[in-house]
Amino acid sequence: MEEHPYLFLAVLAGTALVFCLTPLLIARAWAAVFNAAKPGEVKQQVYECGVEAKGDSWVRFHVGYYRYAIVFLVLDVEALFLLPFAVAFGGLSWGASVVILLFLLLAVEGLVWAWKRGALEWA
């Protein structure tokens, strides 16, 4: 019988699943037979330093970094296009060079716009 070339993937995935599930099942069975879980109000508190927790762990973080991160992410992805451009720079036709410069202009324009709107200021 011909063995499927990707059979080993299925075998590995199955082993991984059994490897993960067995301890969980043993733990469940153990809890059911011998040792019932004992959750409690203090036990479930979010803070672990002995001091009473104030509020819960769903706190809001400052929004200041958000716009900064978005601008960085956009320009970071755009910078990816510059790498092949730099590599192929010597053999590019005039048309291709103009297109990539146009793209760069748009990116810089976006940065200037975000800068003017105050996105790069920490407030």
Binding site: F34, N35, A36, K38, G40, V42, K43, G50, V51
Partner: protein
């Protein structure tokens, strides 16, 4: 259960028998993870016990955990002031079952040299159940190791089923104990009366 004689005979032939209870206790007592938590000078001895010279790792208890969620063993190492007692009890409550407590040093046992003081708790066993008491001021690292071995012996004798099973296996026994609050003069309540049953002191005539 297998007879002791038969078991010895089999182990001589390289056949080892065990029960779930023994396996469970063996695994737990040889990997006690203490809470990384010190209160006073006893903690220095505890630190010394964990370092190379005394090496608590020989007994499987070197993994000091910074979070109560990952710890099995609370070593109350040092003077428990009344300011600190609620934190100690809260940390104990946040530890998962099964959990054990070693009261290390005279202060943790009884208040020690500060017993007459206004601000020191006269023994942590007023609020949480203590398994092993280690006397000394402070106890030497060897004494802590001895206390740890004593606790390991206690764990080895624990039953999984039956009326003599330990606290954490009883469904109705609490896993948390009431946390005292700061009162105007003392902690409120000053002790957990359900837990703390001191023997009455009788002075010799």
């Amino acid at each position: 259960m297998v007879e002791e004689g038969l078991r010895n005979e089999l182990s001589r032939q390289n056949i080892f028998l065990t029960s779930i209870q023994e396996l469970y206790n063996w695994g737990r007592r040889n990997s006690l993870w203490p809470l990384n938590f010190g209160l006073a000078c006893c903690a220095i001895e505890m630190i010394a016990a964990s370092m190379a010279r005394f090496d608590i790792a020989r007994f499987g208890a070197e993994v000091f955990r910074p979070s109560p969620r990952q710890a099995d063993l609370m070593i109350v190492a040092g003077t428990v002031t009344k300011k600190m007692a609620p934190m100690v009890v809260r940390l104990y409550n946040q530890m998962p079952e099964p959990k054990y407590v070693i009261a290390m040093g005279a202060c943790a046992i009884s208040g020690g040299p500060f017993k007459r003081g206004y601000n020191v708790l006269k023994g942590i066993d007023r609020y949480i159940p203590v398994d092993v008491y280690i006397p000394g001021c402070p106890p030497r690292p060897e004494a802590l190791l001895h206390g740890l071995i004593t606790l390991q012996r206690k764990i080895a004798g624990e039953r999984l089923t039956g009326p003599e099973r330990p606290r954490h296996l009883r469904e109705l026994e609490p896993s948390e104990y009431p946390i005292p609050a700061y009162g105007p003069y003392d902690l409120d309540p000053p002790k957990n009366t359900e837990l703390w049953h001191p023997k009455p002191f009788v002075r010799d005539a």
